[in-house]
Amino acid sequence: MIENIVFGAFPYVVVVLFLFVTIQRYRARGFTVTSLSSQFLESRALYWGSLPFHIGIILLFFGHFIGFLIPREVMAWNASPLRLVVLEVTALAAGLLALVGLVLLILRRLTHARLRAVTSNADTLLYAVLLAQIATGLYVALVHRWGSSWYTAVAVPYLKSLFVLEPNVKLLADLPLMVKVHIAGAWVLFAIFPFTRLMHILVAPVPYLWRQTQVVIWNRDRRKLRRVAANEKT
């Protein structure tokens, strides 16, 4: 019963919430759609936290997404035991990288007073959900291993059943508890997405990678400006 709610109904609530609140926030309060970077407040620990976390989480996100888009090709890749190991070890390393990065980011938030000052409740919630999601993901990867293979056989048909509006919760009914928690956690993450700084994913400055370089040249007379400022004081 509870599974029908969590895996059958909740995903649709999440999708509606996600689309409606995201669009509304972008239209009404567009300037809040940002990563709220704290690089100016602290940059050294940020580098060692943010970079590993983002590299890991982006690899994992696309891993899950590609498995969903082309499950057959993933199965064909995994047909060779060596390729299976290469894929699984890469994914595990990405998971560990994301965990190390996130733990560092959390410690950084806790130890710097100026960062605590700019940390909102939404940030705290997001850190908690992300940490839980990465921890359950690593648990599943290690204890119920070769997820890259069984994901295509068990989870992908479930996700597809949601898309065709015939949710097949039975596919998940007998899976180990941690797998279910990980799937439910993913829906929670999507649900809180529009209320948090996760919104920055949607406005990632991707064209930055290939746009023309811009050279900034100041052409105001700084000496004159200083003179003006000095005159105003006296």
């Binding site: 035991p81 390393a93 070769w146 293979s149 097949n168 007998d174 899976l175």
Partner: protein
């Protein structure tokens, strides 16, 4: 129905297997209890039911998987069981599967290729290694979502394994293989491979090589990030503050 769903674990008049002989079950227990137990054996056992507890002890803690049966299917099976009880025994059609002893080395090798996935299953089902481990499978072993199958052959027995492979009565497998059943040649090759693996009676050893490889990968990535840190632009202020410090 019985041959497809039940006969991997239950006989009709040939004695107990993984589960009890079902001749006489319709006299032993009342119909409502059987229906409830067949659909949700785990829940009945956990509810502290005395008869279920007694069976669990008798069959060495092996729990029957939940059976997803419609009302008319369950009624049909019960009618069949009542009929067999009246006759004293029934012959089950699936009993005629070839014994694993008759497999050629080529068939065992074919079974291994199917298990590991290097040969795809005809109807598109996922390879066994995705969820199951067997001693010596793959490079770091098989999956651990589900049971280790190294000793599945002696555990379920020859005819039982045949019917388990062909009808996949376990809950998750039932969903996954519903429209992608194994062919009988594939089922036989897999049975032959599992029989071959079980000849060495020792348990497979667990290692942590997968975790260690992941940790190596982690440090390689952190090393690359460290190299990136060396050539990174820094604010002017940081170095001034450092120089100014006593």
């Amino acid at each position: 129905m019985f041959g497809k769903k039940c006969s991997s674990c239950h006989s009709l008049g040939e004695g107990d297997r993984t589960g009890p002989d079902l001749v006489g079950v319709t006299k032993r227990r009342d119909t409502a209890w059987i229906k409830k137990f067949v659909r949700t054996p785990g829940a009945v056992i956990d509810s502290g039911d005395a008869a279920a507890k007694e069976m669990l002890d008798k069959f060495k803690g092996v729990r029957m998987p939940d059976q997803d049966l419609k009302d008319d299917e369950l009624d049909a099976i019960l009618a069949y069981l009542a009929d067999c009880t009246a006759k004293g025994m029934c012959k089950i059609a699936t009993g005629k599967a070839k014994h694993a002893n008759e497999a050629t080395p080529a068939e065992v090798a074919f079974g291994r290729a199917l298990f590991e996935g290097s040969k795809r299953l005809t109807n598109g089902g996922p390879a066994c290694i995705s969820c199951h481990n067997v001693r010596g499978a793959g490079i770091l072993g098989g999956g651990t979502l589900s049971k280790d199958l190294t000793h599945a052959y002696p555990r379920i027995g020859d005819p039982g394994l045949s019917s388990a492979l062909e009808s996949t009565p376990y809950p998750v497998m039932n969903q996954v293989f519903a429209k992608r059943a194994l062919t009988s040649a594939e089922a036989f090759a897999l049975k032959a491979y599992l029989a071959d693996v079980s000849k060495d009676g020792t348990s497979p050893t667990a290692d942590h090589n997968f975790l260690y490889l992941g940790i190596i990968g982690l440090f390689v990535a952190l090393g690359a990030i460290g190299v990136g840190a060396a050539g990174r632009l820094r604010g002017v202020r940081q170095s001034i503050v450092k120089r100014g410090a006593p």
